[in-house]
């Protein structure tokens, strides 16, 4: 790679063979069933899907499982059995055992290949058993890893109520977040505070985040007098946000392009295209963009960002001037690379499973701007990478850190390359100002670990042992 010497003017996009390792998108079940507390996820697939879920999700299955496999057997594949009757039998069993507020059917490669008509069956069965059934086709033929969440949220967009309930009290009941934020305060105070928001069309945020992060981001916007009317997903299916035509929506995750499109096309919402609130730089840009759409001047943001950077300095100085290579796994790669370049790192290559240049436009622009401002070479963005080729490039480039899927971490470490599992960024709390430190905590861990080991020294270890 000659990237460093040529310094191209625009971002360079490539596409490789797609022989790369990532998780199956059905893994979204792992975090979504925890996020949506009254849900049940039914993955309709083969033993292979089940085995993956079982191993990838480890012990979680033992705690009161709110997901299960509908395992397709030979009779299902050869269409000897009636799909509808079979699914009805299983869903009735789920209703009896768990009584969830919603059953989410997760389609898989197999339901795609045998062309099982899940969307056709769901409404009928839903009417028959009296539990909403949402269909998401999160299969591995069309999607990678985190995009599974995208398919589920896109399906749920269609289920959001389209009218705010009339009674005012009821509305407040429904809005769990405002309730949370106003916890313990008197009605009058809350009312008074309502007026502290600027007058703007309702804003709904989408993307599944742990509850504390939801609160943090909601509060950050509140500081700018912007009110978040709801989140998709909410903590409970019964609390899906109201969506009316003309509402504004903004995503917090870079892998939600279908959800964004569904909001725009099906519900006639306006999408706020912003960089994603990852890292202090991204968070500030995200808030600024939302403010600008609602015509309000952000206040104190620059100070807030500076303050965060200052608190990060002890970590930043560990990585400044070092290089990071993304093999590509969870679609968070662009945002993370942008943040790390802002920290002073260089990044020769960003592998990414899928690149939606429209949905990620603002993020890509910020990446470019960041590189210019930091005097860093622009990375090559490799969509559908080829892991074998990447490993050859890694050998050549010897980056200081490789962010990679789990399959390659130990072999790379054995070859003297520092690695960090990409999947950790999927599960850690990385959004917003407060959590920027957690990203760096993860990124610097291999470097700090190695420093510790180096101080320990192999020779000392051996000699001291010999004395005993």
């Amino acid at each position: 790679m000659t990237l460093a010497d040529t310094q191209p003017q625009a971002l360079n996009f490539e596409c490789e063979t797609g022989n790369y390792h990532t998780f199956c998108p059905i893994s979204c079940v792992a975090w979504l069933y925890q996020k949506i507390e009254d849900s049940f996820f039914l993955v309709i697939g083969t033993k292979t899907c089940g085995y993956f879920l079982q191993n990838a999700m480890g012990v979680m299955i033992f705690a009161e499982p709110r997901y299960a496999m509908a395992e397709l057997e030979e009779g299902d594949i050869s269409a000897q059995l009636n799909d509808y009757e079979e699914l009805k039998r299983l869903c009735l069993q789920i209703k009896r055992d768990r009584n969830p507020s919603v059953i989410v059917w997760i389609g898989t490669c197999t339901t795609e290949i045998i062309k099982m008509d899940l969307e056709g069956m769901a409404p009928k069965l839903e009417a028959e058993i009296g539990i909403p059934i949402v269909v998401a086709r999160a299969n591995g033929l069309d999607y990678a890893f985190t995009q599974g969440e995208d398919t589920v949220l896109a399906a749920m967009v269609n289920r959001c109520p389209d009218k705010a309930p009339v009674a005012e009290t009821e509305k407040e009941e429904r809005n769990a977040i405002s309730k949370l934020l106003n916890f313990g305060r008197k009605q009058e105070e809350v009312k008074a505070e309502e007026s502290e928001y600027v007058n703007h069309p309702p804003l709904v945020l989408f993307g599944s985040l742990p509850d504390p992060v939801v609160t943090q981001l909601t509060l950050e916007l509140k500081k700018q007098k912007i009110k978040v009317s709801g989140w998709l997903p909410a903590k409970r299916y019964t609390e899906l946000p109201v969506i009316e035509e003309g509402y504004y929506v903004a995503g917090v995750n870079p892998f939600l392009s279908r959800t964004a499109t569904t909001f725009m096309r099906r519900r006639k919402c306006k999408l706020i295209g912003a960089p994603f609130p990852i890292g202090p730089d991204g968070t500030r840009a995200w808030i600024e963009k939302i403010c600008s759409v609602f015509g309000t001047e952000p206040s104190g943001l620059a100070e807030r960002e500076a303050q965060i950077w200052e608190s990060l300095e002890d970590y930043v100085k560990l990585i400044r001037g070092k290089s990071v290579f993304f093999m590509g796994d969870n679609l968070l790669e662009i945002s993370l690379a942008r943040f790390l370049i802002r920290c002073g790192m260089t990044c020769p290559e960003i592998g990414i499973p899928y690149m939606d240049k429209r949905y990620q436009a603002a993020e890509l622009a910020l990446l470019e701007k960041t590189c210019q401002e930091m005097g860093a070479p622009l990375p090559t963005i490799v969509e559908k990478p080829d892991n074998y080729n990447q490993i050859q490039r890694i050998k050549e480039l010897q980056p200081d850190l490789v962010i990679t899927g789990m399959a390659h971490a130990n072999p790379l470490e054995a070859r003297g390359i520092n690695t960090k599992w990409s999947v950790e960024f999927t599960f850690a709390q990385i959004h917003g100002f407060t959590n920027a430190r957690d990203i760096l905590e993860l990124v610097t861990r291999p470097l700090r670990r190695n420093n510790n080991l180096k101080d320990l020294g192999w020779d000392k270890l051996v000699k001291e042992e010999a004395k005993v």
Partner: protein, 508 residues
């Protein structure tokens, strides 16, 4: 369709990949959608493999579906052949891609025209067999392929090795304590003066497969992997095999005597009785330990055993014969080989359980309330919920089955390890309990005495609140006892009053 929460044995392609990646310089191409290549993660994470797992997924996506996969699969095979020069490339679909019903043999034939190494399609029915059966079959297939190839070329070596020798068949990657077992078996063979001819498949080279018949006999320590190969070698070359798992002092002795018999029949006069005696009495601490005062407390205690055929059978025998523990039931998830299991364990337990449905296993545990469980990771968790200690004795594998320290299950060191495991399982029950008091474990309460959630009990809001005030570690028990009390009296709704009545009646 069936509702599944948990699988004891993986899908077929996992078995094939375990064999392929155990061999040296063999590569597997998995014809599958993106999300199926979890095998690489397991191998890298559980075995802490330093090398890249020699498995490449040839990805099936929308495009491939539309255009047909032949070109892509053939490309990926020939590319890997050129990049890494493996001796053999094994192509396998997954149960998902096998639905496409493509002529994969034809893909292999096409690729073979260009490839330098050998190309083979794993001959496995992905819907009918599981991981274990597929592994057994693939190992057999690879051996047969190379023996036939050598025969055709006239490269088979005649005759036996000079000194008595053995092939150990069935050691593979991602096997339950396989690595340590293998070391222990090598030691045992060295003690017996037997040379190792080949170990299969772990670390073996396909070039050496033609030497297999030079060994005097085959040793198949695990029922699940290697039997097909051993039977094949017996049919083709009249090679005898020993399929007694040397686990526990009694079975280890039996295994050694079977080996002795084979050697004697082949004109070598060996007598291992002194060795067996010495090992049993002085090297292995197991026999003494079971007679020591520590173990008195275990006598007559109730236990249940569940796992794969090999381990469940062996542990049942050890508990019952060597430690005087009462095995109420012994079970296996190897349904396809149930007859063997029944024959092995029926005289050592009251009841035999053949199922791969974890809820049935859980219910069977809850029903007999044993003092200890010996099972898989799944039973360990069932035990957590029921407050019954569990020793893990069988796959499915877990990171804990790849310990850094030496922990074989077979041979004389294995007997020590197993006795420790058994003894600690019974006594550590109490300490585990303390852990839970301090919130170390999840304390999901059990709804009824059976684990399946078919409860018809209604708790009033107040009663539920009251129940939640009960400390976590006994809450499950209080709930169970209260519900049992109510059910026995035909009460369908549990109020605070019922709770206290139950408490007075049974001390819940």
């Amino acid at each position: 369709m069936k509702l599944a929460y948990w699988m004891y044995a993986g899908p077929a392609h996992i078995g094939t990949l375990r064999i392929a990646s155990s061999f040296k310089n063999v590569h597997a191409i998995m014809h599958a959608p993106l999300g199926d290549d979890y095998f690489n993660v397991m191998r890298s994470m559980l075995e802490r493999e330093r090398d890249f797992t020699p498995v490449t997924a040839s990805i099936v996506d929308r495009n491939v579906l539309a255009r047909g996969s032949q070109e892509k699969v053939v490309d990926n095979i020939t590319r890997k052949d050129a990049e890494e020069h493996p001796d053999l490339i094994i192509l396998t679909p997954t149960c998902t891609s096998s639905i496409l019903q493509e002529d994969l043999q034809n893909f292999c034939d096409r690729a073979q025209l260009e490839a330098r190494g050998d190309i083979m399609l794993a001959d496995v029915n992905h819907y009918r067999v599981n991981e274990l059966q597929a592994a057994d079959r693939t190992l057999h297939q690879v051996i047969q392929y190379y023996i036939e190839k050598a025969r055709k070329k006239g490269e088979m070596l005649e005759g036996k090795t000079e000194k008595p020798s053995v092939n150990i068949i069935g050691i593979s990657t991602l096997g339950f304590h396989n690595n340590h077992d293998c070391t222990e078996l090598k030691r045992l063979m060295a003690d017996l003066g037997i040379e190792i001819n080949e170990i299969l498949p772990e670390g073996a080279s396909v070039h050496n497969l033609k030497n297999l018949p030079r060994a005097w006999f085959n040793l198949v320590p695990y029922r699940e992997l290697g039997m097909m190969a051993a039977n094949y070698l017996q049919a083709e070359f009249g090679m005898p095999y020993v399929d007694i798992t040397p686990m526990g002092v009694v079975e280890t002795a039996r295994c050694i005597r079977a080996i002795q018999k084979i050697l004697n029949e082949n004109g070598v006069d060996v007598n291992y009785e002194d060795y067996i005696n010495e090992q049993t009495l002085y090297v292995s601490q197991a026999a003494w330990f079971s007679r020591s005062i520590d173990c008195q407390n275990l006598t007559g205690k109730k236990a249940v055993v569940y796992g794969d055929n090999t381990h469940a059978a062996a542990i049942t025998k050890i508990l019952s014969r060597e430690m005087g523990i009462h095995v109420v039931w012994a079970g296996t998830y190897c349904k396809y080989d149930a007859d063997w299991f029944r024959e092995q364990v029926s005289e050592y337990c009251d009841e035999v359980l053949i199922t791969d449905d974890h809820t049935q296993v859980g219910d069977a545990i809850a029903r007999v309330e044993p003092a200890a469980i010996f099972g898989t990771q799944m039973e360990r968790h069932v035990g957590k919920r029921l407050d019954i200690p569990c020793g893990v004795i069988s796959a499915p594998i877990h990171i804990q089955n790849f310990p850094i320290g030496y922990k074989p299950f077979v041979g004389y060191e294995g007997t020590n390890q197993i006795v420790d495991l058994i003894y600690n399982s019974f006594t550590l029950g109490m300490e585990d309990h303390l852990l839970e008091i301090f919130g170390g474990h999840d304390t999901k309460e059990v709804v009824t005495k059976a684990l399946t959630a078919d409860t018809d009990m209604n708790w009033t809001k107040d009663a539920k609140a009251e129940l939640n005030k009960v400390p976590g570690f006994v809450r499950g028990k209080v709930k169970r006892n209260t519900e049992k009390f109510a059910r026995d009296r035909g009460i369908t709704e549990i109020t605070i009053e019922v709770m206290y009545a139950a408490k007075e009646a049974v001390g819940a």
